[in-house]
Amino acid sequence: MADPLLVVDRVTRRFGGLLAVNAASLTAQEGRITALIGPNGAGKTTLFSIISGFIKPSDGVVRYAGNVITGEPPHRLARRGIARTFQIVQPFAGLTVRENILVGAHLHHRSRTAALAAADDVGRTVGLNDQLDRPADTLTVAGRKRLELARALAIEPKLLLLDEVLAGLNPSEVRDIVPVIHGLRGRGITIMMIEHVMQAVMSLAEHVFVLAEGQVIAEGAPAQVAANPVVIEAYLGHGAAAKLKAAHGR
């Protein structure tokens, strides 16, 4: 197996007395979709913020494409090819959808014409091509999620960090956006996603890491992880795994 594109090596983050991330280690294989799941408050977004350069870890190292990138600022990471979406989606207000995507496109296209063309392309990829001229704040939630995706794609990333991109979408909207994410993988983009929508995790992810109370408690293929009693307990509480087993056995 080739070296993973992203290596998070025993990263720790303390906030005063609170240990938000505790020696967490995970990897993302190039070209694959890796999921990061776990109950609320597990530290997943903190971990993402560390990987994407918004927070510095108290300890540990982050490696990308073989280079140490720990503590590099977000804009520098973007130039390296790491893109990140946010949980709470906020388009650039007052701009159209196309102008929103344009900001990302400008990273690799200096001229406005070239960047606009690139933005249109990306808009088509995520399925927003008929809404490019609308003001971004008139989009529905599903539209905004696609826009968030589009903005990130516009910087032509090799690694895409998706932070709960499916949150707030109804089942049919989820069904519509999953193929878009699949399509990205087809282009060779490595994806790491934080997700709570389990059906999507099962169908999209090839490898899953489970984070609970700042620590990685399990990893493996989606089906394995779902059956793992430690994981079940993390979500449903102490003794839940045994209860479930007992209930099924009857």
Partner: protein
């Protein structure tokens, strides 16, 4: 090229004014209004496009004014070089303040405070330093002639400030259409998102401050040449910090013509007030403060934005089926 036609038209129309209007009082009014518009355009680059609200733009205005005055009076430098030097110093000051404040991550209220503090520090230094003439101020010796950047006719001054303003309009438009401008606006709307898209926010903001500082400094240099007198209260006083921010806000932040519209509106208001109540100190600023509050309250996007708001309101009224849920929510 297309985007520059309105600018060319406006400047052409304004340039024709001295050929029609002979009254010195009117020309004087226009010269001052255009100068304030230039200072405001400087503020607009930083505040309107980059979204960083400076409450101390007097720092740049005063620096421009003092540098050109001091260079001429104490070092015998030619007035035009002095002008250029003043602008460069404004740019440098913008770079310094920007590098210090943005690299420390200062935003919002804190940024406004720091700019206020810088302006105050400069004012205090200027009020006691011997080179600025301390409390007495600096007089530029009367030396009529183009070489000394002093003109007999007001029309000549008018065309100079108009040219400078025109240049600032062109720069604003260029920014709007460039990658730099797209990045600035992104930083203004959502700095974190902009960073993830590869925007080096602090460098971009600092660059905006350099451009902003040089424009407002140019206005300050012009002030010195036009009025031939500078003191710490004029150069670094709160009056110019306020007018520099008021004019873009009233005219329309983040637009090319906002500061010009705002400057004309604000100054007209001031003149109107003087007509009604006589030349009483403080009255014009009362109006300005009140207008600021009212504009933020009712038309936060200023006059230009207000037109947009009216247009949208009309569109909604005339749309078949009445206002849609989506459109009713914003505008």
């Amino acid at each position: 090229m297309k985007g520059f036609i309105p600018i060319i038209v406006v400047i052409a129309v304004l340039a024709a004014v001295p050929l029609i209007v002979q009254s010195n009082a009117t020309l004087n009014f226009l010269v001052v209004a255009l100068m304030i518009a230039l200072a405001g355009q400087g503020w607009n680059i930083l505040g309107g496009y980059a979204g960083q609200y400076s409450f101390g733009h007097a720092a740049f205005f005063g620096t421009g004014a003092y540098v050109t005055a001091i260079l001429q009076m104490h070092y015998g430098v030619n007035a035009w070089f002095g002008f250029g030097a003043g602008i460069l110093c404004g740019a440098a000051l913008g770079g310094v303040i920007g590098a210090l404040t943005f690299r420390s991550g200062l935003r919002g209220s804190y940024f406004a405070l720091v700019t206020l503090a810088f302006a105050e520090v400069l004012r205090i230094i200027a009020s006691v330093a011997p080179i600025t003439g301390a409390g007495v101020g600096t007089l530029i010796k009367l030396d009529l002639g183009a070489r000394a950047f002093q003109f007999q006719s007001r029309a000549a001054f008018y065309w100079v400030i108009l040219a400078l303003l025109g240049l600032s309009l062109v720069i604003a438009r260029l920014i709007e259409q460039s990658r730099f401008g797209a990045w600035l606006i992104a930083v203004r709307e959502n700095e974190d998102a902009a960073k993830t898209l590869g925007v080096d926010a602090s460098s971009v903001k600092t660059a905006a401050m350099v451009i902003s500082g040089s424009m407002t400094a140019a206005a300050g240099c012009f002030y010195a040449q036009y009025f031939l007198f500078v003191d710490s209260g004029i150069a670094y006083g709160t009056w110019i910090s306020i007018e520099a921010l008021l004019t873009p806000i009233i005219g329309g932040v983040g637009t090319v013509f906002g500061p010009l519209l705002g400057a004309l509106a604000v100054r007209l208001l001031g003149e109107g007030a003087k007509l009604v109540t006589g030349d009483v100190p403080g009255l014009d600023l009362i109006l300005y403060g009140g207008v600021l509050v009212l504009v933020i309250w009712f038309t936060p996007r200023g006059l230009i934005g207000g037109c947009g708001q009216i247009r949208q309101w009309l569109m909604r009224r005339n749309a078949p089926g009445g206002p849609s849920v989506i459109e009713a929510g914003h505008g």
